[in-house]
């Protein structure tokens, strides 16, 4: 361990790998994005030429700027270099006596501190704007990252070293691939990586438009070698974070006996991450600043779920797929709260119901019996065919002019835009999505606390309770009847799941009755909705409230 000739050599090799390889990843991202846009695009080696050219060029500095501005690119770059040096990339031994993850994560705070200050240094409005937004993002990023760290630490029973996490993942390989908490925290980590790299949908790295930019705004005044260091450091950061992902969540550490193989694997993972970024950036749009926080909050809840479910059993093989599907149901509901259009919501509902159907199918395989088949069949008929069709029908019947009317009404209701109220073109929400997510996190916490109190060991129970509670939450916060119906249906999905997760054997008759109940409920609600719309001319419960007051 610690300082020796071999560890120093290794650290140097890691620094070289990160620095020399990273421009290629950026080149690949740009190439793929160009192809998506039906352009030929520059060579994948173009970033090398860019950095080289910038390093050779002169620079222009603002007359107001101070030593902070001069120092920032170098410090930012040095932080990434230090990160590359202390990370156990090619071997479990680093130059530091321990490869503490917290220390590693806080390294990026150095860059953040200096970059935000350097934005303010030139007395331009853009720099301050970028720094201010960066601070907003980091206020969501750091707690979420802390949850991921907590998960990793508890998962590998109290260790705090990156090499210990790596060893733990490797030891559980490949079973860990189906371990839901592991997958959830990997998902959260990837979202956080996108945010930390200021990639879409968080920030648009290809623009200099003040409305959209965060990172580019802070470096607007930099030029020449300083800019080269910043661009290069940022590229290197991508490789460092991707490698960290590979080591922690993938079994790269199995290859540590042979550093060359580890090198190839990490290079591959970095490229894969680049490809993922390019794809996501090509099919997704940059979202508004305050909606960015919602996505980060989503990542936070995902990581929180992973952390909470650690003490619980998630089943083996088959059983872990069941648990995974339950998590998918929960996540689709969280996404449902964020999404803005009817079709997106319909899709999310279908995902929710499909996950339930698959889950019930797996259960039916392992526990064949009439009630299993009945549950499966009824879910498919009701939740995958009948209910979506009905809701789609209802949506279509809200004629186009009326939908447009809703948008216009919404757009001049100024107070709706103030605060953190989410802008929702068709259906507005009562509370902001951030508040809703906070409540959702609280509900999830509650379900886990209750499960712990009852000494339950199966993760399915708290998840099912969460699904039910969040279904109620959706009904509570969405004013429009269609959305409330969606919430009701997803809540019902949770109720269907309940006997499965508690392994209760409910008589077929009771189950059939419950089902009939749901069927009748939805039918009545849809019928009522039609009737209401005919007489009142709206389906927004707030407007209905106003009518009743008149």
């Amino acid at each position: 361990m610690a300082l020796s000739l071999s560890t120093i050599g290794l650290a140097l090799a890691q620094i070289l790998f990160v620095l020399l390889f990273s421009p290629l990843v950026i080149g690949v991202i740009r190439k793929i994005k160009a192809r998506f846009q039906a352009r030929l695009g520059a060579s994948v080696f173009q970033p090398y030429f860019d950095i080289g050219k910038l390093l050779m060029k002169g620079s222009v500095k603002s007359n107001v700027a101070s030593w902070i501005f001069e120092l920032s690119p170098a410090v930012n770059f040095a932080a990434v270099v230090a990160a590359a040096a202390i990370l156990p990339l090619f071997s479990g031994e680093g130059i530091l006596s321990s490869s503490n993850l917290l220390l590693f994560v806080y390294l990026f705070a150095i860059g953040r501190f200096f970059m935000a200050l350097s934005g303010l240094d030139a007395a331009s409005s853009f720099g301050g704007l970028g720094g201010s937004r960066e601070m907003l993002l980091s206020a969501f990023l750091e707690p979420a990252m802390m949850v991921v760290i907590l998960f990793l630490a508890v998962f590998s029973s109290g260790a705090m070293d990156i090499s210990a996490f790596a060893a733990h993942t490797a030891a559980l390989w490949p079973a860990v691939l189906l371990y839901p908490p592991h997958l959830l925290s990997a998902l959260a980590f990837i979202i956080l990586l996108f945010a930390e790299m200021k990639r879409m949908p968080f920030d648009n790295p290809a623009t200099h438009l003040e409305l959209t930019m965060i990172h580019e705004a802070m470096i607007l005044e930099n030029s020449g070698p300083g800019l080269a260091l910043l661009e290069w450091g940022n590229a290197a950061k991508l490789v460092v974070l991707s490698s960290l992902f590979g080591i922690i969540f993938l079994p790269v550490s199995l290859l540590w006996q042979n550093p060359l193989l580890a090198f190839v694997a990490l290079a591959g993972i970095s490229l894969a991450m680049g490809v993922l970024i390019a794809f996501v950036e090509s099919i997704i749009v940059k979202v508004r600043l305050f909606r960015v926080t919602e996505l980060l909050m989503f990542a936070f809840i995902v990581a929180l779920l992973a952390f909470f479910s650690l003490p619980y059993q998630t089943g083996e093989g088959h059983g872990s797929v069941v648990a995974l599907l339950a998590f998918v149901m929960l996540l689709s509901m969280l996404f449902f709260m964020m999404s803005a259009t009817f079709t997106r919501r319909l899709k999310l509902f279908l995902i929710n119901s499909t996950a339930l159907a698959l889950l019930l199918f797996l259960v039916a395989l392992s526990e064949p019996g009439v009630d299993s088949y009945f549950r499966l069949g009824s879910t498919i008929v009701l939740k995958l065919v009948l209910a979506p069709a009905l809701l789609y029908f209802l949506f279509q019947r809200i004629s186009k002019p009326e939908r447009k009317d809703m948008v216009e009404q919404a757009s001049y209701r100024k107070e709706e835009f103030r605060g953190m109220l989410a802008y929702d073109p068709v259906f507005m929400t009562h509370a902001s999505i951030l508040t809703t997510f906070t409540i959702a996190a609280g509900l999830i916490l509650l379900s886990f606390v209750v499960s712990t109190a009852f000494g339950i060991h199966d993760v399915m129970v708290p998840i099912t309770i969460s699904i039910t509670l969040i279904g109620v939450l959706i009904i509570a916060i969405k004013p429009h009847i269609i959305l409330q119906l969606f919430g009701l249906l997803m809540l019902e999905n949770g109720i269907v799941l309940l006997p499965v997760s508690l392994s209760l054997h409910i008589p077929l008759l009771v189950e059939a009755a419950t089902l009939l109940d749901a069927l009748v409920l939805i039918a009545v609600a849809v019928a009522l909705a039609f009737k209401t719309r005919e007489t009142m001319g709206t389906l927004d419960s707030r407007e209905l409230d106003e009518l009743s007051e008149r």
């Binding site: 620079s59 220390l103 501190f113 240094d121 007395a123 720094g131």
Partner: protein, 644 residues
């Protein structure tokens, strides 16, 4: 030790005598303060190195027992904090207070109070008798009150001082009640007797709660923090540095002494730890959120004190929880983190207040929206303030990071325990992560708005660098910040005897987590080396390259930017406030920067109190015979009670 006490007392007396000549009083006061503080620092280090320090005994008295001062290791650790910062502040104040003399304030008064204040803080941490402790505590409260109200002609000072005095006395009342309980249980007022006393759980809990209220009100935990953001900004900056940096730590010392020493043998119930850690998490988060809203430089720093006290309380709460769980090793780690953070906060917060004092003296305003561009006008102060901001933002490799890292290590280890503890420690760690992200934002804002860009007002544009003595004082603290960040093992060695003295006596297990501390030195070296290498390369490159120009900031093609085109402090924190603002003000406040607790808890409380008082006004007739009647009724009541 005795020498230190005598020097400080002499300084106090001499300055008062020399009050006629401001200069002489200042010289005498500063010299005696410096020598006294340095002597005290020496006396404080000795027990930490394992050498016992002679006891100063004032003799044995009937009823109150033996009055004596003794610096054991725990006292030594905190006495070191007190004396180091005090020495710095005496250097700093020497030049800083000149301005007040010009305004016509009495120098003799200040320079006799300053040594008294330092003396009383040293006495609090070293007295080993409850009566002596309370006397020192009260002298500390009164001398700091007088120092807060020193600038008596300025607006708001009297009010702030009064609130401070009020809360200080409420706290003192709690402490007296606590000591009475302790004395009742142990039959003596001697600290040594307290530590061994056996008591039922209810008594221990009562003592604990009283200590939490008494010391907590001094430390400024939420919701007892209300005096802090009012009093700290009003005091002269040297005093703000002492109060925020040191006096709060004296309260922390008191709580550690009671909770871990006096009640040490007692297995703490679960709710003690939960209460303390919850108070810590809430104080930290709300403290930083309130700080983000402030535009008054010193008021903002005062709110950050609440935040940091919160972090210290998180450490102490975690230590209590670990004690409950029967895990002394982790308890020691958590307590060490709290003590380390106490030291660090003393360093960087006093540096920040001194830097703020320098800025205020140079610009004559406390409103950061009027500042800007000071990095060019006051380059050395800017570097000092930068070091302190960097440290308090918990960015590696400075000291703030190390103690926060240790706190996180303790919390994460706690989360590993499973069950409910996983949730408790997990949630606290998450809230601490949020706090630290917000603190970074707050200090980027402060440093960026105050020192960078261009001056936002004419007065600020004429600011000049402050005199050398003030810079020297700040420089020493900045160096200490660096040292405490790069060599945490040193601090560990200092804190180890202190931990040992309160029963955490298994160093081999206790510091398993802290064992990786030396890596910070190597890590810092790596970082500094990398920065230097890159700078060297780019400097080398510059010599060869064609053009390096200095032009005006890009302004979208208009004319040169005006100060008003810069980002403002409120603009900078606006996105954060938009998201988190509701937490600081669940009910919409009427004025900007208002404190929820002040407006919606204390004010209604006061109004209720006032209205009840007015209703009871009829009792105060002013007639002697009526009062005699009251006396008689009371007497009869007491007699009846005795009869029953």
């Amino acid at each position: 030790m005795l020498f230190a006490f005598l020097m400080l007392a002499a300084g106090s007396a001499l300055s008062l005598l020399l009050a006629r000549s401001a200069r002489a009083a200042r010289l005498a006061g500063a010299a005696f303060c410096l020598v006294g503080s340095l002597a005290a620092a020496l006396a404080a280090i000795l027990p930490l190195l394992g050498n016992p320090v002679p006891v100063i005994s004032l003799g044995v008295f009937p009823a109150i027992g033996r009055l004596y001062f003794e610096i054991d290791a725990l006292s030594g650790f905190f006495a070191l904090i007190v004396s180091f910062v005090s020495a710095i502040v005496s250097i700093y104040s020497f030049k800083y207070m000149e301005e007040y003399e010009e305004k016509g304030y009495n120098a003799g008064f200040y320079w006799s109070l300053l040594p008294l204040f330092i003396l009383s803080m040293l006495a609090v941490v070293s007295s080993k008798n409850a009566a002596l402790f309370m006397v020192s505590w009260e002298v500390m409260a009164l001398s700091s009150y007088l120092l807060v109200t020193y600038e008596g002609r300025a607006e708001g000072v009297k009010n702030a001082g009064f609130i401070y005095l009020l809360i200080a006395h409420m706290g003192a009342a709690m402490l007296i009640a606590m000591f009475i309980l302790l004395a009742g249980m142990s039959g003596s007022l001697d600290f040594a007797a307290f530590a061994g006393a056996k008591m039922p759980e209810i008594a221990a809990s009562a003592i604990f709660v009283l200590a939490l209220l008494g010391f907590g009100s001094k430390a400024g935990i939420i919701p007892l923090h209300i005096w802090l953001p009012q009093a700290h900004p009003q005091a002269p900056s040297g005093i703000s540095a002492l109060m925020s940096g040191v006096m709060l730590k004296v309260a922390v010392y008191g709580l550690i002494r009671v909770a871990f020493d006096f009640l040490g043998p007692f297995q703490p119930p679960l709710w003690w730890g939960l209460l303390v850690i919850a108070i810590g998490a809430v104080s930290a988060l709300l403290g930083v959120l309130y700080a983000l809203r402030q535009h008054d430089l010193k008021r903002m720093l005062a709110y950050h004190s609440i935040e940091n006290i919160g972090i210290i309380f998180i450490g102490m709460g975690a230590a209590l929880l670990f004690s409950t769980a029967g895990n002394p090793a982790l308890a020691a780690l958590a307590l060490f983190a709290a003590m380390y953070h106490s030291l660090n906060h003393a360093l960087f917060k006093s540096l920040l207040f001194m830097g703020a004092g320098a800025v205020i003296q140079a610009t004559h305003t406390r409103d950061i929206e009027k500042m800007g561009g000071l990095v060019k006008l006051m380059p050395v102060t800017a570097v000092m303030f930068f070091v302190a901001s960097y440290a308090i933002s918990a960015v590696p490799p400075l000291n703030g990071f190390v103690s926060e890292w240790l706190t996180f290590q303790a919390l994460i280890s706690g989360a590993n325990a499973g069950g409910y503890m996983q949730l408790v420690f997990g949630l606290v760690a998450i809230s601490l992560a949020l706090t630290s992200a917000l603190a970074l934002a707050a200090f980027v804002k402060v440093f960026g708005i105050v020192f960078l860009g261009i001056p936002r007002s004419e007065k600020v544009g004429q600011a000049k660098e402050v005199p050398g003595a003030m810079l020297l004082g700040m420089g020493l603290v900045a160096a200490a910040c660096l040292a405490a960040g790069i060599f945490p093992a040193l601090i560990m060695n200092m804190a180890a005897p202190a931990l040992l003295s309160i029963g955490f006596n298994d160093p081999s297990v206790a510091y398993s987590q802290a064992a990786s501390l030396p890596m910070f030195g190597l890590f810092s070296l790596l970082l500094v080396f990398a920065v230097l290498a890159i700078l060297a390369v780019s400097a080398l490159g510059k010599a060869f390259r064609a053009k390096h120009e200095t032009r005006i900031t890009w302004d979208c093609g208009y004319y040169e930017g005006t100060p008003r085109m810069q980002y403002t402090a409120s603009g900078f924190s606006m996105p954060l406030m938009r998201v988190f603002g509701k937490l600081t003000n669940p009910i919409e406040s009427k004025h900007h920067g208002g404190d929820f607790f002040e407006e919606f808890i204390y004010l209604p409380l006061y109004r209720a109190y006032a209205s009840v008082s007015i209703r009871l006004n009829f009792l105060q007739t002013g007639q002697l015979s009526d009062y005699l009647l009251y006396l008689m009724i009371t007497l009869i009541g007491v007699l009846l009670y005795a009869l029953l």
